[in-house]
């Protein structure tokens, strides 16, 4: 379908989102990425029965960790889509890029401290 989406999105391939580990996501933030999203099958249509549901829980968990670290949990998302939804894939890439762009560079990279404190909303946005 060759739908255009922003080139800053790069894919790390796993057999199932059920394989996505807390460590992998946290490592990505540690390395300085500005946002991560996990793209799994539609709910109820997991090729491995329920891997995507497990991934969803893990993503929620990492969001809490990010919050505790003062990183905006919005930088991490879970999306569900099917292999036939090319249009949606491009849309998500766009959506996520815009979201992260609005948040600005990751505080880990900039070293500017906490960007987010729970209960107070965004401390600093750009």
């Amino acid at each position: 379908m060759r739908l255009d989406y922003p080139p800053n999105v790069k894919i790390v391939r796993v057999p199932c989102t059920g394989k996505v580990d807390l460590l992998h996501i946290l490592k990505a933030f540690e390395e300085g990425v500005d946002g991560v999203y996990v793209a799994g099958c539609l709910e109820g249509e997991c090729h491995f029965l329920r891997g995507n549901l497990r991934a969803k829980k893990r993503v929620m968990h990492v969001k809490r960790i990010l919050t505790a670290l003062g990183i905006n949990p919005e930088r991490l998302q879970m999306y569900n889509l099917s292999a036939a939804m090319g249009g949606r894939f491009a849309e998500i890439a766009q959506e996520m890029t815009e979201k992260v762009r609005a948040l600005g560079p990751s505080p880990i990279k900039t070293g500017k401290g906490r960007e987010f404190v729970e209960g107070q909303g965004e401390e600093k946005g750009q």
Partner: protein, 1482 residues
């Protein structure tokens, strides 16, 4: 091959989901497969679906892996774009002849880059999108299609197919449009020596077929365009002057008749180098062209000029020579020394009117009149001329008569203008010139005075029924005679051929019509060496047909004289004809040249039609749709860098040897055009369900937006009309799937746009499958889909809003009218196009509707041994049933050839693997340009140079196409020379190309898991094509990530486990016995374990069947076969008590009563066939009153004589007892047909008996519908009831009193029954413990749960365990039989192998780290991890599916998923940010 040896290969015809499943099962069971598919790619109807019911799975998501599996298998040979022509030989050793259509793209060179598709200028109607969008002439239907090679579609245009000589209309019209007039003329002359003549006088049947005319506006002026180039040729000195060719052959040929047939035959033979003599009875050549067609239609200079071309070839002409009179026929082949003869006499004898007075002076037969006129024999015309007839001769005679000076010319025709055979243009021109035409009049008598005609008595006619010609027969209206004054009468009611010699005497056969009898393919008469064509063969016909006859004979004569088989290779295969045009072609009327003004016409013979000017011709030629197929413009040829395109490919015939054949021909959707039902084709917003399905699909025409075709608005109210093309007089069957797919489409539409309000108009909701009723109830109650039980009587369109008004009678009998924004017709399934012809060719019997005829005890066997059937061709069915049946068919098809298992399989032979552990990574990187796909966006050389700087990379290069065969050789060489131990390819998707590269590594002794891929096309150049710099940057990132991962790749050796080639079947009912017997016949040992003392299960209680087969006889025969089979061990009175092991090596313990002996059975696979049983009702006084029975009890009592139907007056049956209730929310599927079976039996035994069936929905799905029809015909009464208001039952002395609300009558129906029969549902037998032992899953209702509802219907999620019969879900005996066979086929995929390869991408536990916390056990969706004797988690690689859930959950990080180890993923994430941190930056 030795005599009697079976061939270990199977031909599967049809590449839909059924054909694919059968192929996979066959090949896994050790047989070579040829998968033949008519279209360019496999996938069938399922590839068009958006979602599947009842799980709403995305169809493409579940189909696509299967496509890849089939496409990748080295032992499945895909033969697509091809058809089966013949099947010779017998079961076990067939020879199949296959016709392959040219794809015009070489699959070994095509890389699937799709550049061609971007450049192709031709928009073609997309069949895949049901004509809602267009595609290119070079195309692939959808991105996941297999084979992934593009195809150039060069179907015939309908005009060419219709033309008797198959002129390449598109080509020569295209050349006119391009101003290449010389080229256009050459194209025509290839097949037609007389373009100027035919371009003037042809009645152009081609134009009737022109899609521009049938689908858009008016047909193209094909004929006039041909004339234009012919005239242009004359004006520009391009007329054909041919020097006589050098004589090639000694033999001379005689041609009898110098008309179009003879001239063409002579022309063609002379060009081949034969000496030819034409014998012509008249003084000049041309036949009817000269003496029949008037000059104002065909100027004689045009005629002479084109005939001269024949004379120029050196053909000898003998005019005024009538064979049979002037020259005896026998002399031609005798003393005159001709070696062959062509008979091309025309039909020059006018037919008589057969009325009194016909012989009077002034009566001049039409053909004679025209002939004498044209030969200048002094014909005089005056006064009032009457012409009788309605053909072109009548019109010609009339128009000539006016030109000759007649005061008045009147044509009398006995039918109406509609039936007139003359061409419309001729009729129009005659009327313009003042010819009077009187319809519905026929002559009864010629009025004669003094021997001269003075008048004509006529009678009025009226039209009756259609006759043999399809036209309505004229009938005289008595007493309406009248007389018209006439000075000259020209009868022109037809002409016939007169053979001037006695054909019988010459041993030449004639037909009852007096024409020469010829072989249609060759034109050969019954006398060797004599051929015929044109009018002599066909009776009076048109010139172009005569030309075709002459051409045919010329080929035959050449073959005859050269000793070549006359017929070989001339059989015309069915022409693939373009049927649709793409949407959105603007209206543009047909052009016509300016004719001579009427005033100038009538007194001269000057040509009337002027033809086109150059400008007119070009404009008209541009109207040609080219039937929107490939024109051979050559653009793709230029842009295709691998040079894969080959226009010259032709149809090719191939022969293959196979042991058996599977027909999986699938279905076609009913085309509602045929009867204009509900305004389809007339109202823009009436669409079919398959069109609607495409609209819902993300790959569909509107990107999954539901839009009205008329204005693109989102329709709020959508009506679905059920049973369109099903359950009617012509289709006495139910299409089985429509209720469910309509429900699905309604739900999905509502999911897309929540304000959509779907309404489904239905007769019965047939939600009879597993999970269907729950789906339907959810649709009704949760999704808010409105269901109305009513047949829609009428749909009309509001002309302004294009909304649709539906008129229907609601359940209370009130006439309602309601407006909808869109109407979806739930079209039924019918046998696929061409299946009837194929079945006839193969000698396979069909049932009345054209589905393949089978019997319930052998539901996949056709009437011809060795040919099996599956899927919708056997009867309408849904995907899981098709898949199950396909597997079953595979079992039957291989039983026959089991002795040849494995004989034809290609074994891949690789060198021993090199041990690379401990070596430093030495990575080679190959960066692909993919032609311009990557190269035009990404700076590939820059990426290559960058790659060289990365750690461990010892080699990097770039290739035009890394996947090409020569690059594979190159990679192998580089691995050797550079000592590589890891390879990375930066190109396209691993989904399609990883297997290829992995194979290359294996060929060089590297473990396939040492390969890595970076997708710099799909994930980079394609999606960032407008940002080349960023794309190049990203390509660097992606390759860096892949290289970082590659450094950590490890060899993953496969473990081999031996397989115990023995099966265990649990359950001795029909399903279990069929499964056990099937396995035994496949050559495997089998244990059949039954808990009861005897075999037979439920079947023991069944005594008669709908189809008439005797169930008990079938059962006894089956038990006999089971008991007698030497490798089948039956163990009755046995119960399973324990179970262990993995696929290939199971151990099951059983206890055998009455001694309670314990026995251990070792086996490789297990088939669960534990069955079901009839629900014991608690409703309707069952068990309280002896007059209340279940259906099974009724059947047994009727069979035993305990119930005598003759003594009964009324029997009431209640359906859905214990089914479709909150407690058991499923349909028991079989009760409707069982009730109908019993009702028919009772009626048969006592026709006076009153049988009343109270039902909710009658669910006689598929071909069972015919029995429902029969029951109604026999007087069985059916009354629906609502679940909220079930029938009330009371026991009285007189009988059982049943009361129910009759929704049709609106009142209460009160019935006093002798017997009340309850259709009690089916419930599974106790199986909970068994399920726990075997770790298999069950549904909420306790039926076994298959691995996947759609595509793995007989597998459990647990490998090596299969299911069949009632234990899966209620089903008919024939369905159990197919399903049992399916389980056998699936089991054979394991048992036929000697060992199982396990390992690869599986999870592995580090025992040192494991804390036995059990988290992995909970995380695994397949219950694989176990705590072993050492107290740590153990994951059996034979069972692991490789999802990695356990690894991600393991808190101790003791589990690693091979090939995706944490270290690897983290390395990739780190690499992402490595080069200056641009990786994740925004």
């Amino acid at each position: 091959m030795k005599a009697g040896e079976k061939i270990g290969a199977v031909l599967v015809v049809g590449g839909g989901i059924g054909g694919m499943q059968a192929s996979l099962d066959l090949v896994e069971a050790g047989f070579k497969v040829y998968l033949l598919e008519r279209s360019p790619n496999i996938g069938g109807a399922m590839s068009q679906l958006d979602k599947t019911f009842p799980t709403n799975d995305c169809a493409m998501c579940i189909l696509s892996p299967k496509l890849v599996e089939v496409g990748r298998n080295p032992n499945i040979e895909l033969i697509t774009f091809a058809e089966l022509l013949r099947l010779e030989g017998e079961a076990g050793a067939f020879t199949a002849t296959i016709l392959r259509h040219p794809k015009r793209v070489d699959p070994s060179k095509c890389t699937g880059c799709a550049i061609c598709h971007q450049y192709c200028p031709l928009e073609v109607c997309s069949e895949y999108n049901e004509g809602l969008t267009s595609r290119k002439a070079i195309f692939i239907n959808y991105p996941q299609a297999i084979p992934s090679t593009h195809v150039i579609d060069r179907k015939d245009a309908p005009c060419t197919a219709r033309c008797p000589v198959h002129l390449d209309v598109r080509e020569y019209v295209g050349a006119i449009a391009a101003k290449e007039f010389t080229q256009s003329l050459e194209i025509i002359r290839e097949k037609l020596p007389f373009p100027g003549i035919i371009g003037r006088i042809c009645p152009h049947p081609c134009e009737e077929e022109c899609l521009r005319g049938t689908k858009v506006d008016e047909p193209l002026s094909i004929c006039t365009l041909k004339r234009f180039v012919a005239d242009w040729g004359v004006q520009h000195g391009k007329s054909r002057s041919q020097n006589p060719p050098e004589p090639q052959y000694q033999e001379r040929v005689a041609v009898v008749g110098g008309g179009p047939a003879g001239l063409t035959c002579a022309h063609d033979l002379a060009r081949l180098g034969y000496g030819v003599t034409i014998f012509e009875a008249l003084p000049s050549l041309g036949g009817m062209l000269r003496v029949g067609i008037p000059e104002y239609r065909l100027p004689r200079d045009v005629l002479d000029q084109e005939l001269q071309a024949v004379l120029d070839l050196g053909v000898e002409i003998r005019t005024d020579t009538r064979v049979g009179e002037d020259v005896p026929f026998a002399d031609l082949l005798g003393e005159m020394g001709y070696k062959a003869v062509f008979l091309g006499m025309g039909a020059h004898q006018g037919m008589k009117l057969e009325v009194p007075g016909e012989d009077a002076q002034g009566v001049y037969p039409g053909v004679d009149f025209l002939r004498d006129l044209h030969l200048g024999r002094g014909v005089k015309v005056h006064g009032r001329v009457a012409i009788i007839g309605g053909g072109n001769v009548a019109i010609d005679a009339a128009r000539c008569a006016l030109r000759m000076g007649a005061d008045k010319a009147a044509i009398f025709y006995r039918r109406t203008r509609r039936e007139m055979p003359a061409s419309a243009e001729e009729i129009e021109a005659a009327l313009e010139e003042g010819v009077e035409i009187r319809f519905l009049t026929a002559p009864t008598r010629v009025v004669v005075a003094n021997g001269r005609v003075t008048g004509l008595e006529l009678i009025r006619m009226k039209l009756g029924e259609a006759d043999a010609s399809g036209r309505r027969r004229p009938i005289p209206a008595e007493g309406t005679e009248f007389t018209a004054p006439v000075d000259m009468l020209i009868p022109a009611i037809g002409q016939e051929v007169v053979v001037p010699f006695d054909p019988v005497e010459e041993q030449i056969g004639v037909t009852p019509r007096g024409t020469i009898q010829v072989d249609l393919l060759t034109g050969a008469t019954t006398l060797p060496g004599v051929f015929a064509g044109g009018d002599a063969e066909t009776g009076p016909g048109i010139a172009i047909e005569a030309i075709a006859g002459g051409q045919r004979a010329a080929i035959s004569i050449h073959r005859y004289l050269r000793g070549i088989d006359l017929a070989a290779g001339r059989e015309e295969a069915d022409r693939f004809v373009v049927e649709d045009v793409p949407p959105g072609i603007p209206y543009e009327g047909r052009r016509r040249g300016t004719p001579l003004p009427v005033a100038e016409r009538t007194r001269t013979f000057q040509e009337v039609e002027a033809g086109f000017t150059e400008k007119e011709a070009i404009t008209e030629a541009l109207r040609c749709l080219n039937c929107r197929q490939c024109l051979g413009c050559g653009i793709c040829l230029e842009v295709c860098e691998p040079e894969a395109i080959d226009y010259s490919q032709q149809d090719a015939i191939m022969e293959i040897e196979v042991g058996s054949v599977i027909l999986a021909l699938g279905f076609d959707a009913y085309d509602p055009h045929e009867r204009g039902e509900y305004g389809y084709g007339r109202y823009a917003n009436v669409v079919t369900s398959i069109e609607f399905e495409r609209m819902l699909s993300a790959t569909g025409p509107f990107n999954s937006t539901v839009m009205r075709p008329s204005d693109g608005d989102i329709p709020q109210k959508i009506a679905f009309i059920q049973c369109v093309g099903s359950r009617d007089h012509e289709h006495d069957y139910c299409s089985s799937v429509c209720c469910m797919y309509a429900t699905k489409e309604a739900i999905i539409a509502k999911e897309h746009v929540d304000f959509i309000e779907p309404t489904i108009f239905y007769i019965d909701i047939r939600a009879f499958g597993k999970g269907f009723d729950a789906y339907y109830e959810r649709a009704r109650q949760t999704n808010g889909i409105r269901y109305i039980r009513s047949m829609v009587s009428k749909v009309t369109e509001d002309p302004t809003t294009k909304d649709l008004w539906i008129t229907y009678v609601d359940e209370d009998g009130a006439l309602k009218r309601e407006a909808f924004h869109m109407v979806v017709l739930s079209v039924g399934l019918r046998p696929s196009e061409g299946s009837r012809e194929l079945a006839a060719k193969l000698g396979v019997a069909l049932e009345a509707n054209g589905f393949c005829a089978t019997v319930p005890s052998a539901p996949v066997s056709t009437s011809r041994e060795g040919i099996y059937v599956s899927g919708a061709f056997q009867g309408p069915k849904d995907i899981p049933e098709t898949v199950a049946q396909a597997s079953g068919t595979a079992a039957f098809a291989t039983e026959l050839i089991a002795s040849s298992r494995g004989t034809l399989l290609k074994k891949e032979d690789y060198p021993p693997e090199r041990d690379v552990s401990g070596e430093e990574p030495r990575i080679g990187v190959f960066v692909c340009h993919c032609g311009v796909n990557i190269g035009a966006v990404v700076n590939v050389p820059a990426v290559r140079e960058y790659v060289k700087t990365l750690p461990h990379v010892v080699y990097a290069e770039d290739n035009l196409f890394t996947c090409s065969q020569d690059t594979q050789e190159r990679i192998r060489k580089v691995i050797q020379e550079e000592g590589l131990n890891r390879v990375v390819v930066a190109s396209c998707s691993p989904r399609t190309h990883e297997p290829l590269f992995r194979r290359t590594l294996r060929e060089e002794g590297l473990n396939p898991y040492l390969f890595g891929m970076a997708n710099i096309r799909d994930q980079c150049s394609w999606v960032h094509m407008h940002h080349p710099e960023e794309a190049t940057e990203k390509a660097r990132d992606l390759v860096r990530i892949a290289v970082a991962n590659a450094g950590l790749l490890q060899s993953l050796p496969m473990q081999r486990l031996p397989i115990r080639k023995r099966g265990l079947v649990i359950g001795g009912g029909v399903a279990g016995m069929m499964a056990a017997l099937g396995l035994a016949r496949q050559g495997f040992e089998v244990f059949l374990v039954e808990q009861e003392a005897e075999l037979g299960g439920n079947m023991r209680h069944i005594h008669y069947s709908l189809s008439g087969q005797d169930p008990q006889a079938f059962l006894q025969e089956l038990i006999g076969k089971v008991m007698a089979h030497p490798s089948l061990q039956v163990i009755t009175n046995a119960e399973v008590v324990d179970h262990a092991g993995t696929v290939g090596n199971f151990v099951t313990g059983i206890m055998i009563a009455p001694t309670m002996t314990y026995r251990k059975l070792e086996h490789g696979i297990t088939i669960m066939a534990t069955g079901g049983e009839e629900y014991k009702p608690r409703e309707y006084l069952y068990g309280e009153d002896p007059r209340v029975l279940t259906q099974r009890e009724l059947e047994e009592q009727v069979a035993s004589g305990a119930v005598d139907p003759g003594a009964l007056r009324r029997v009431v049956m209640i359906q859905c007892v214990g089914s479709r209730t909150p407690e058991r929310p499923y349909c028991s599927r079989i009760c409707c047909s069982v009730a109908i079976k019993n009702a028919l039996k009772l009626k048969e035994m006592n026709p006076a008996l009153d049988v009343h069936v109270l039902y909710r929905d009658i669910r006689t799905y598929g071909l069972l519908e015919q029995y429902y029809t029969r029951a109604r015909e026999q007087g069985v009464l059916f009354t629906p009831y609502q679940p909220e208001e079930p029938p009330r039952v009371e026991a009285t002395d007189a009988g059982v009193h049943v009361r129910t609300r009759d929704i049709h009558l609106g009142g209460e129906l009160s019935l006093e029954a002798d017997l009340l029969v309850l259709s009690a549902g089916v419930i599974p037998r106790e199986n909970e413990e068994l399920a726990a032992l075997f770790k298999v899953q069950r549904t909420m209702e306790g039926f076994f749960l298959e691995a996947h509802m759609k595509l793995r219907p007989v597998d459990f999620a647990t490998d090596g365990v299969y299911l069949c019969g009632l234990a899966h879900f209620p089903k008919l005996i024939e369905e159990s039989v197919s399903q049992a066979a399916a389980a056998v086929a699936r089991a054979c995929t394991i048992l036929s192998k000697d060992e199982l390869e396990v390992g690869g991408v599986v999870a592995r536990v580090d025992a040192e780290k494991c804390a036995a916390c059990l988290i992995c056990i909970r995380a695994c969706p397949y219950n694989v991890p176990l705590i072993n004797e050492e107290g740590v988690s153990e994951i059996n690689p034979a069972l692991c599916h490789g999802c990695g859930s356990c690894a991600a959950e393991c808190p101790q990080k003791a589990i690693e998923l091979q090939h995706y180890r944490d270290e690897q993923i983290i390395a990739q994430v780190s690499a992402l940010m490595a080069a200056g941190g641009t990786g994740g930056g925004v």
